[in-house]
């Protein structure tokens, strides 16, 4: 299970990098980020974290009932 968490975090990280790169890096006359691009990447990253936390919250609310039932089934199974 912990392995899955590491994998999911890495996936989030790499998806975030790809998204902010695609949305912010548009000037290929330089090898390093321009000031404008760097500011864009920072905002993109901050906003995405807030955005995905919000979706995560909605998702958790949605799943609470379902997971409750599953947990119960498992503990009944284990106690037999």
């Amino acid at each position: 299970m912990e392995e899955k968490q590491v994998k999911d975090s890495l996936r989030l990280y790499h998806n975030l990098v790809e998204r902010c790169f695609l949305d912010c890096a548009n000037d290929f006359t330089t090898k390093t980020l321009t000031a404008k691009e760097e500011a864009c990447v920072n905002k993109c990253c901050d906003k995405f974290l807030k955005y995905s936390a919000r979706i995560g919250q909605r998702f958790a609310e949605q799943n609470t009932a379902m997971v409750d039932i599953q947990q119960q089934l498992i503990s009944e199974n284990a106690s037999q």
Binding site: C24, K50, Y51, S52, R54, I55, R58, N63, L73, N77
Partner: protein, 96 residues
């Protein structure tokens, strides 16, 4: 198979199912993340915060995604029941 082994098999199956469901949930979560970003977040990035309009859009987007998932899920389940009934009828006719 002994009683113990049956219990073991049953709880392994539950574990497998849980793992599959968690994988599917991660998959759905990532699809919503990417879909609602497209629908609600402009790629100009003029500020770090999620503003009011964006937040409201995100909540509605999530809600609509769930409804579409529900609607299509019911449709597919209905279809699969129709197919099963047709198969059962065909099998009954064949065994007469």
């Amino acid at each position: 198979m002994s009683y113990f082994n049956q219990q073991q098999a049953a709880s392994n199956q539950t574990f497998m199912q849980l793992e599959h469901e968690m994988e599917a949930m991660t998959d759905v979560f990532n699809k919503i993340i990417s879909s609602c970003h497209t629908k609600c977040i402009p790629t100009k990035y003029s500020e770090s915060d999620l503003n009011k309009a964006e937040s409201v859009c995100v909540d509605r987007c999530f809600s609509k995604y769930m409804i579409v998932q529900q609607q299509i899920g019911s449709k597919l389940q209905e279809l699969s029941q129709n197919v099963q009934e047709m198969n059962a009828e065909a099998a009954a006719r064949a065994s007469q």
